[in-house]
């Protein structure tokens, strides 16, 4: 849209829009200074500066166990989801896949079905299969949840990829497998890496399914946070929240620079 002289009504609309930006950002941003405050109950402005709550977070075995459990789950989910997602994406774009519409429906399925439904259902079945609290159970559930985002990101980079490049490789005498590894894969790599990044974040801060399929000894970080928010609002939470937000910003920055080279990336997610 063109730059036109700012009218009063447009000025009002823009002012309102910036107020909305403040509304979007400020509540979360306030947590950060509060996490450095010394009070037992969170205060704003903080009455002083301390790293006490961070020290408490990094020395509490429960918090650390939950954090490492979530990191492990998220890393495995990223790997599994990316491999599985790349394969199905190739089948969808390149293959003569029987029942392709059904597969496409299954790809979007986990976005449409509410997380609570998925969580309850997964709980029911995983309890019977003794998969609750297990790495396998978490990775399977989170992989299914991340699948739409991974597949759409990789599909986008496959569609952007110039098919003639692969034809050129074949005409140069490369077998299909070598053409894939020498030409196609390097070209869609930015898409694959950002897909892995998305899968990691989706798994790492997934609260709903984790809530149900955690058990007493194996809790994900979101589940542990949920419990602490619900039962004892400690400033440790503010420290944890700040660390998490910092990690998110870091991931977004990495994703942005990857996106710049590959112009790929899902910007929307699902929440519950």
């Amino acid at each position: 849209m063109t730059r036109t002289p700012i009218t009063a009504s447009r000025f009002a609309i823009n002012a309102f829009a910036y107020a909305v930006v403040v509304f979007l950002l400020v509540p979360t941003a306030l947590i950060i200074p509060m996490s450095f405050g010394p009070d037992r109950f969170l205060k704003f402005p903080p009455a002083g500066f301390t790293l006490h709550w961070y020290a408490a977070y990094f020395s509490d075995p429960d918090w650390l166990a939950a954090t490492f459990f979530s990191i492990r789950i998220a890393a495995l989910t990223a790997i599994v989801a990316t491999i599985v997602g790349t394969l199905i994406s190739l089948a969808l774009v390149r293959g003569r896949l029987p029942g392709k519409p059904a597969f496409e429906l299954l790809v979007v399925g986990p976005v449409i079905v509410p997380n609570i439904a998925l969580a309850i259902a997964t709980f029911l079945v995983f309890d019977g299969l003794r998969l609750t609290g297990t790495t396998l159970g978490f990775v399977a559930a989170h992989t299914a949840l991340a699948m739409p985002f991974v597949v759409f990101t990789i599909l986008a980079s496959l569609y952007r990829f110039d098919a003639d490049l692969e034809r050129a490789a074949l005409s140069c005498g490369a077998s299909p497998l070598r053409a894939f590894f020498w030409v196609t894969l390097p070209q869609i790599m930015p898409g694959i890496v950002s897909a892995a990044l998305f899968a990691f974040i989706i798994s790492f801060d997934e609260p709903v399914i984790s809530f149900f399929i955690s058990d007493l000894d194996h809790r994900s970080l979101p589940r542990k946070m949920f419990e602490d928010i619900d039962y004892n609002v400690s400033p440790i939470l503010a420290a944890v929240a700040t660390v998490l937000t910092g990690l998110t910003i870091l991931a977004l920055v990495i994703g942005h620079f990857l996106g710049r080279s590959g112009r790929s990336g899902s910007t929307t997610r699902k929440t519950g």
Partner: protein, 289 residues
């Protein structure tokens, strides 16, 4: 003439059906184990006990307690959708007009909350809204109220926090559809004598309708099944559908009834998605903005 031999790769680029299925197999396994099988089992639980019965579904609609929860869930979801749209539209307009650094900053402002943990954002509202939290401090400090108010465990708090969490979902599709409107349309409308509001009313608004629909649908669907925020911000008086299901499962172990509620929720979601399928492209849900 030779008959067509079966090929591992057709033309080197197209995989044969057998290879395609092989590539799809891991996906199928994951989806089967963590999507189809669980949902199928849960729905079976809701309708067979062990013979076919609609008893649990009837209970959802017969008992006033549960009807109230359902009604509240729909009411809160509608409020959240409307508030998100009202807050989101001006922001999306601003973004659609922005360029360069301003646009990047605005995009970050929308994407950052989207990728920040829901728990963190819900926790932030919990801290702000508590009895001696910042909002009560400000209200008493300014003399608007005499004593701190009970803000948590109110429907207003639930709506506020949920709107905050879901706002980006309406802004992004709106921004995409507003951005796609060519400048020339607005210029043409102005040349033809339309004033600012008339341009908005007759050009911008109708052309952004797909964005409005898909954004609102997305927010509404997410709100219907929202668990974390209502569970933590609201109390028993603000119980929404997801918390009801959780209670049925973790406290009462009433799987058939939980299954029936989920069945109703899934039905509603499916009806909405199918009804709007022509307006809302499904890949918008995953948002390649």
């Amino acid at each position: 003439m030779k008959s067509r031999p079966s090929r591992f790769l057709l033309g080197g680029r197209t995989y044969s059906p057998a290879v395609s299925l092989l590539l799809a197999l891991p996906f199928l396994l994951v989806i089967l184990l963590a999507f189809l099988l669980p949902l199928g089992m849960l729905l079976r639980e809701s309708a067979f006990a062990p013979g076919f019965t609609v008893e649990h579904y009837r209970k959802v609609f017969d008992e006033p307690v549960y009807l109230r929860v359902m009604y509240r869930t729909v009411r809160i979801s509608i409020f959240v959708t409307l508030i998100s749209l009202l807050l989101g539209y001006p922001l999306a307009l601003l973004m659609a007009r922005a360029r360069g650094l301003q646009l990047s900053l605005l995009l970050i402002a929308v994407l950052l909350p989207l990728w920040t943990s829901v728990l963190v954002r819900t926790y932030a509202w919990l801290v702000l809204l508590q009895r001696d939290g910042l909002i009560n401090d400000m209200l008493t400090g300014l003399g608007i109220i005499d004593a701190p108010m009970q803000l948590l465990r109110t429907e207003g708090a639930v709506v506020l926090a949920m709107s905050h969490v879901l706002l980006p979902f309406v802004v992004l599709p709106l921004y995409a559809s507003l951005r796609a409107i060519p400048d020339d349309y607005e210029r043409a409308a102005k040349m033809l004598g339309a004033n600012g509001f008339a341009v908005f009313r007759h050009v911008t608004l109708p052309l952004s309708m797909p964005g409005i629909t898909s954004g609102c649908l997305m927010v509404f669907l997410l709100a219907l099944g929202f668990f974390v925020t209502p569970a933590l911000i609201g109390g028993p008086q603000q119980m929404m559908l997801a918390t009801l299901v959780q209670q049925q499962v973790t406290e009462l172990l009433n799987w058939p009834f939980a299954g029936a509620i989920i069945g109703v929720l899934l039905f509603a979601v499916l009806v909405l998605v199918i009804a709007f399928n022509r307006v809302v492209r499904l890949d918008r849900f995953v948002g390649q903005v």
